[in-house]
């Protein structure tokens, strides 16, 4: 097998400049970005969009932490505070994490399975180009007379139905995000099932591809349910229906069931691709094949299956029948089994490996440790009897931020550092990458760990003011938040430097221990990744069986 080494770039060459055989590459800004059908360009659009949303949502988080820096109302009105918590969640979930993963899927899946592009490239363009419009509409509600949505991202009725003018805009923005996600997912599934190079059997696929296949299935299954749920809110608000109105025979709790039937698979939608990325990175830097490849695949599938039957653990306090509480408690705890398999396999992969600690590996190890903390607090929350105490406290906030920030977001950063040289053809600054990792990791724990204690002591979530007994931990948390927020500017700096300034060209095989098809291509890869199906043999498989 030959590894194409990259042609060296001139200093003035644009980093994404054409490589060897790029006859179809469009010219001009609109042709290139607005009309594109290219998986890499669309992937870049998704990633840049997600990064912008990450900072918009992060700015809202800074407002929240600034208000909570001290007890009492200092900076913002309570209603605006509620708009910030609501919008922060909607922007981070639907605008930052999900589109970022679709960006990774776009960039990497064709490279990893030996395809020229996604299966449905024109629809791919539309999946992306719906998003900027949807988020313009969502964010515009902040400037309306009624203000933005303020009932929490879960939009529980009857509170959400008391929102003013902005409510319909929020509903339609969610519809657009759903359409985008469904089209993106159909594309991912069709690509994986139909575009693999001959010989790339299902159980030879890289784990990132596997996790996205399962994620895409989850998305197609639950995004329409969210669309239905918000449609019923819309008709209850504007057209006189009684889905969530007990006086008409409906039930507000029914909304919670439907919402969480979407919402629980949704959390796995955000974390499964993270599992995939980490499963690619750890073997590379441990220089060992992934431990238990097949077990990882089946664990992912098990998590996806279980995610459909655990939703009511989000609503243990609504007064469900006892059998319901018990069923959802035990089903939720079952998820710890496949998740434990995954953590065990990552650790076993590192066991006796010849490890090096480049930035992607640091973030991946940070992910394994800190995500596990979030997983364990999830197990505590799964216990129905004690959840009566934890419910809607800062303990819940600490739990899901641990799985989402040092979980999903760290995996996104690990993946970015891992593949940035492949995408741009340049090496990023390892020094600044490591500084970014250490500042982020320390500050994220200062930010979220005290919130466990706040929650256990009884501080409720989604309030702008609190009892003075919570003052110290809130101040510590806010300081951590400001450092974490500021440290993400380093991330942007590293990326911008890598794209525009870095003079160190990346080889095709960026990382010594890298396995898989993406490393057989030049960095950056040709415009159409593979014009003909590549040869698949044990040397080009990402996770060959370990020799015992």
């Amino acid at each position: 097998m030959s590894i194409e080494s990259t042609h060296s770039h001139d200093n003035d060459a644009h980093p994404a400049a054409p490589g060897d055989h790029h006859d179809h590459k469009p010219t001009g800004f609109f042709n290139r970005w607005l009309f594109t059908t290219n998986h890499k360009d669309i992937g870049t659009l998704y990633l840049v969009f997600a990064l912008i949303m990450f900072f918009i949502g992060g700015g809202m988080a800074m407002v929240i932490r600034a208000e909570l820096f001290m007890p009492g109302l200092q900076l913002v009105e309570p209603d605006f505070f509620n708009q910030m918590t609501t919008m922060h969640a909607l922007v981070m979930v639907f605008g930052a994490v999900m589109p970022a993963w679709v960006g990774f899927a776009n960039w990497m899946i064709p490279l990893m399975i030996g395809a020229p592009d996604m299966a449905l490239p024109r629809m791919n363009n539309w999946s992306f180009w719906i998003l900027p419009f949807a988020f313009t509409m969502l964010l515009s509600t902040l400037f309306m007379d009624s203000g933005g949505p303020a009932a929490g991202w879960t939009l529980y009725p009857p509170l959400s139905l008391q929102g003013g003018q902005s409510f319909a805009f929020v509903v339609f923005a969610i519809h657009m995000m759903g359409i985008s996600s469904i089209m993106g997912s159909i594309n991912v599934i069709a690509t994986i099932l139909n575009m693999r190079a001959p010989g790339m059997t299902l159980l030879r696929m890289p784990l990132f591809v596997w996790t996205w296949l399962i994620t895409a299935y989850l998305l197609i299954a639950v995004m329409p349910v969210l669309a239905g749920a918000v449609t019923m809110l819309l008709t209850d608000h504007f057209f006189g229906t009684s889905f969530f109105n007990a006086a008409g025979g409906g039930d507000p709790v029914m909304f919670q069931h439907i919402f969480w039937f979407f919402g629980h698979p949704e959390v796995y939608i955000m974390i499964l691709p993270a599992f995939g990325v980490v499963s690619e990175i750890i073997p590379t830097f441990a220089r060992k094949p992934l431990f238990g490849y097949a077990a990882m695949v089946f664990a992912t599938a098990s998590i996806a299956f279980l995610s459909f039957i655990v939703w009511a653990h989000h609503m243990f306090t609504v007064g469900m029948p006892l059998m319901g509480e018990l069923f959802f408690m035990y089903a939720t705890m079952l998820i710890a089994v496949p998740t434990g398999v995954k953590v065990f396999n990552w650790v076993s992969t590192m066991w006796k490996g010849s490890m090096t600690f480049e930035t992607p590996m640091l973030f991946a190890i940070g992910f394994v440790v800190l995500f596990t903390i979030g997983g364990l607090s999830g197990l505590m929350l799964a216990i129905a009897s004690v959840d009566l105490q934890y419910h809607d406290t800062y303990f819940v906030v600490a739990h899901f931020h641990y799985v989402l920030v040092p979980g999903a977001v760290f995996a996104l950063m690990a993946g970015t550092y891992y593949w940035l040289p492949k995408w741009t053809g340049h090496m990023y600054s390892e020094t600044w990458g490591k500084i970014h990792f250490w500042v982020s990791t320390i500050s994220v724990n200062i930010l979220f760990f005290p919130q466990h204690y706040l929650g256990l002591a009884g501080m409720p979530r989604r309030i702008p003011d609190y009892s003075t007994q919570f003052a110290d931990f809130n101040m510590i948390s806010s300081i951590g938040g400001f450092i974490f927020g500021a440290s993400q500017l380093i991330f942007v700096g590293v990326i911008v430097h890598c794209v525009y300034k870095s003079r160190k060209a990346a080889q095709g095989l960026v990382w010594e221990g890298g396995k898989g098809l993406e490393w057989t291509l030049s960095s950056p890869p040709p415009y159409h990744s593979f014009n003909t199906p590549p040869l698949i043999d044990p040397t080009t498989i990402s996770h060959p069986e370990e020799a015992h």
Partner: protein, 289 residues
């Protein structure tokens, strides 16, 4: 595993249609949001957005049809299209599952609890004393006033027969296409389109009857909510399916498709069978049972 008609992969060139579609979609949905907030201009901008979307659909599909008819697509592209359509239909199944779920939840849990069954004893005693759980119901407060339901074995049963018959006619059209019997193909397709539109006509008549004579409206509590949400979205899907069948019929008249390659026909036929099956669920759980 993928089968390749050619040595080279097929990748389409760039396209302006998605961004036009996004512009149409945002115009339409932002207008809808202003419309429900009582804007008087919004209906017109809504219409403009809808027209942009229709223009996009014509343009985009037109381009794909031209490329398909000129033989640019290999077997791999055909398989991608098939997968795309099947997974799209799966997403539609889940969309309807959401509303069926609401119906079942209301009937099995919410309404009996309001009537004091199981854990709802105190709900009934303290909040809705005297309310007895029945179906159909407009809830403890009789929202929307008293109403009568539409009997299952009147127009709805006829509509069931119409949709089942249309499933047969579209299959006969498919067989005719495979035997390259173009006359029968177009005739059976047009018969299917006609049955589809007759179904929609009956459905509209049923709505008129409900609103004008039976007192059954969207505001008739949980029964009216689930009834109109389920039948309304189904009716919209039948209308869309009938329009799609009409387009396919026109394409057949223009000589498109051949006995081996007719994905466009099959996709629409699948969609038609899907709305057919949804109707059977509706007929059983909304009208009969």
């Amino acid at each position: 595993m993928a089968h390749h008609a050619d040595d080279q992969y097929y990748v389409p060139h760039g396209t302006k249609w998605p961004i036009i579609g996004s512009l149409g979609m945002i115009t339409m949905l932002a207008s809808a949001a202003y419309w429900v907030n009582d804007s008087t201009v919004a209906p017109w901008t809504f219409l403009a957005g809808a027209l942009i979307l229709i223009y996009m659909v014509f343009g985009w599909f037109g381009e794909v049809i031209r490329e398909s008819e000129s033989g640019m697509y290999n077997d791999q592209v055909d398989t991608s299209f098939r997968m795309g359509m099947l997974w799209f239909i799966f997403s539609e199944v889940m969309f309807f599952a959401c509303f069926f779920g609401a119906l079942f939840y209301a009937r099995v849990f919410a309404v009996p609890w309001l009537g004091g069954e199981g854990t709802g004893a105190y709900t009934n005693e303290l909040l809705w004393r005297g309310y007895e759980s029945v179906w159909p119901t407009a809830g403890p407060d009789q929202l929307g006033g008293s109403f009568q339901t539409i009997p299952a074995f009147g127009v709805p049963f006829i509509n069931t027969l119409i949709l089942l018959a249309s499933g047969v006619t579209v299959t006969l059209a498919h067989h005719a296409l495979k035997k390259n019997n173009r006359g029968a193909l177009v005739s059976w397709l047009l018969a299917t389109v006609l049955l589809g539109f007759v179904f929609v006509f009956f459905q509209i008549e049923e709505y008129k009857e409900a609103y004008q004579h039976l007192g059954l409206t969207m505001g008739s509590g949980i029964y009216g909510s689930t009834f109109f949400m389920l039948t309304g979205f189904h009716g919209m899907h039948v209308s869309l399916g009938a329009i799609m069948l009409l387009v396919i019929a026109i394409r057949c008249m223009r000589g498109h498709f051949n006995p081996e390659h007719h994905f466009g026909f099959e996709a629409v036929a699948w969609y038609w069978h899907f709305v057919d099956v949804v109707w059977l669920g509706l007929f059983v759980f909304v009208y009969v049972y």
